[in-house]
């Protein structure tokens, strides 16, 4: 897959919810090649940061030649990203890694927190074939609903505090959904503990499942081994190159 390091202009940047931002960047080469589940490494302009920051590709517009990212401000780097204004040029390295399987006819997307960002690209790509199950601590974290609605058939929600949807986690609601619908793929992105829970249930119900992992990254190109993980087969893999998307049984012991 051809990768590029593109100097792209920021077309739009705004805050979607407290500390969650959406940035859209003109980067035609990347927009053309990107597949759902892939990510980019953003170079923070200004010269104060040594490492790039990995973010999933949340939306792509082939026509405009843009890619959009949705990210949470958690530290210095994402803070600096959020302070960039439209018109600023940012270097985007990507698309990186491997995306989700695109063969599914009826996929269920399961996301928690910022994991919902790369799943959005998948939802758009699936053109109404997918459902989404989203979990958050409270209703405020489920601002994603409105973003997903145009792209999916159904939106299912869980909140830890019961302030909206089913009280509990995405794993609370998943068995019910798997009984009701004939999903042929589950793709999960969110906290590792959530993905592992989802993968176990998918395994029980015999639905193929992919998960997307996060690791600190240096190069993003498979060269530095910052992001190495163990796989169940004993082979070492690199999240940036062999992932970030893996079949659940590759990375989780589901027995």
């Amino acid at each position: 897959m051809p990768k590029a390091a593109v100097d792209g202009e920021i077309i739009a940047q705004h805050e979607l919810a407290k500390d969650v931002w959406r940035m859209e960047v003109e980067a035609r080469e990347i927009a053309r090649e990107a597949e759902p589940g892939q990510f980019v490494q953003l170079q923070i302009p200004g010269g104060a940061f040594t490492l790039r920051r990995p973010v999933g590709i949340a939306e792509v517009s082939l026509q405009k030649g843009t890619v959009a990212f949705i990210y949470r401000v958690v530290g210095k780097g994402t803070k600096a990203l959020s302070q960039l204004t439209a018109g600023t040029v940012i270097n985007v390295l990507g698309p990186l890694g491997h995306g989700f399987s695109l063969k599914a006819k009826r996929p269920l997307l399961v996301g928690g927190g910022m994991g919902l960002s790369p799943l959005l690209f998948y939802a758009e790509h699936a053109q109404g074939k997918a459902d989404v199950l989203m979990g958050g601590r409270n209703v405020r974290e489920l601002f994603w609903q409105d973003i997903y609605k145009p792209h999916v058939q159904k939106v299912f929600c869980t909140t830890d505090d019961g302030s909206y949807g089913t009280q509990g986690f995405t794993t609370t609601l998943l068995p019910e959904l798997l009984q009701q619908e004939d999903y042929d793929l589950i793709i999960a992105c969110g906290p590792e503990i959530m993905m592992k829970g989802i993968a176990k249930i998918a395994h029980e119900y015999n639905v193929p499942c992919q998960v997307s992992l996060e690791k600190r990254m240096g190069c993003g190109l498979g060269a530095c081994l910052s992001c190495s993980i163990d796989t169940t087969s004993g082979e070492r893999k690199k999240v940036c190159k062999d992932g970030p998307v893996f079949w659940a049984e590759e990375v989780f012991d589901l027995a």
Binding site: Q43, T50, L93, G218, C224, L225, S226, C227, D230
Partner: protein
């Protein structure tokens, strides 16, 4: 394309201990994989060489937990020499990267003096341009740190490697020493063909939320622009004291940085951490050195090596 580049880079051609290099710009071990990962961004044959990932006799899993973290103008790593071992390197990797037409310099680490000899001998094969002895990786408990800080031990490693290979032997110095010059002289006397420096400075970070060290290995190696002043000072001191060629590295991220190292007496430079922020940075550095020479009407990079000494 390669022909055009050769014309362009005429001023940059160089030769270190018999290794012909199109440019004096190499990539530092552990930061550039086996070169192939950067093939979309870099004309690998234009590099002076690719110092490939640290290789050991047996496969190594490396360290658990968080392996890198960003620091002010730098980063800490504790990869811990993860690698599939020399056998896989020879059987799978080397044949695969053979057609890139680049100088492959194999960075090796041993737990004992003998292991360096075994590795050097195994790697004395076509397709390997030189061996770089890593005696300074601060992450490995079984010996690495000792070879790198004791002149006698470092000299022993060089002798052992030289006795087992006809390839040029590069010794890579650790900066975590009181007296870099004594180290350099010892390894020169022991027969090192080239000295490369510096490896990473030992550092650490604490996560104030968890109140625990950030890195899985507690400490890690500091690299990136932040270490450049220390690296440059060491290159300058060593260049004054030894006569073997030096490959200078530590924080180089632009042509100006590379030129500083050349002026300080390095015959070539290697770029590490900067590849992460710009995968094509080495090409820009080649161009920039070329421009610097052209602006001064100099025919060859040799004309500036050691000019500040």
């Amino acid at each position: 394309m390669s022909r055009a580049i050769n014309m362009l880079d005429k001023r940059l051609h160089t030769n270190l201990a018999g290794i012909y290099m199109n440019t004096p710009v190499l990539t530092a071990s552990g930061t550039f994989g086996f070169g192939e990962e950067f093939a979309e961004f870099v004309d690998l044959s234009r590099l002076g060489g690719v110092m490939v990932k640290g290789t050991t006799l047996k496969p190594r899993r490396g360290n658990e937990g968080v392996r890198i973290t960003e620091t002010p103008m730098g980063m800490l790593n504790c990869i811990g020499l993860e690698n599939p071992g020399v056998d896989v390197f020879l059987q799978e990797t080397l044949p695969r990267i053979a057609n890139y037409n680049m100088n492959v310099i194999v960075n090796i680490s041993g737990s004992t003096v003998e292991e360096y000899g075994i590795l050097a001998e195994m790697l004395d094969v076509p397709g390997v341009a030189a061996i770089e002895l890593n005696v300074s990786c601060p992450n490995v408990k079984e010996g690495g740190i000792v070879f790198g800080t004791d002149p006698k031990a470092a000299a022993a490693v060089v002798q052992e490697a030289k006795a087992h290979t006809k390839k040029p032997v590069i010794l890579k110095l650790s900066p975590n020493v009181t007296d870099i010059v004594t180290m350099a002289k010892a390894v020169e006397d022991a027969g090192a063909d080239i000295i490369s420096l510096i490896n990473t400075l030992l550092g650490m970070e604490i996560n104030i939320h968890t109140q625990k060290p950030t890195l899985g290995n507690v400490t890690g190696g500091l690299s990136g622009p932040c270490v450049k002043p220390v690296a440059l000072r060491m290159v300058y001191q060593v260049a004054k004291a030894v006569s073997v060629p030096l490959i200078g590295m530590g924080g180089i991220s632009c042509a100006e940085d590379a030129i500083e190292f050349l002026l300080a007496g390095a015959s070539a430079v290697a770029v590490g951490t900067a590849n992460f922020s710009d995968p094509a940075v080495t090409m820009k550095i080649c161009d920039g050195i070329n421009d610097y020479l052209a602006r001064r009407h100099l025919e060859s990079v040799q004309d500036i090596i050691g000019a500040a000494l």
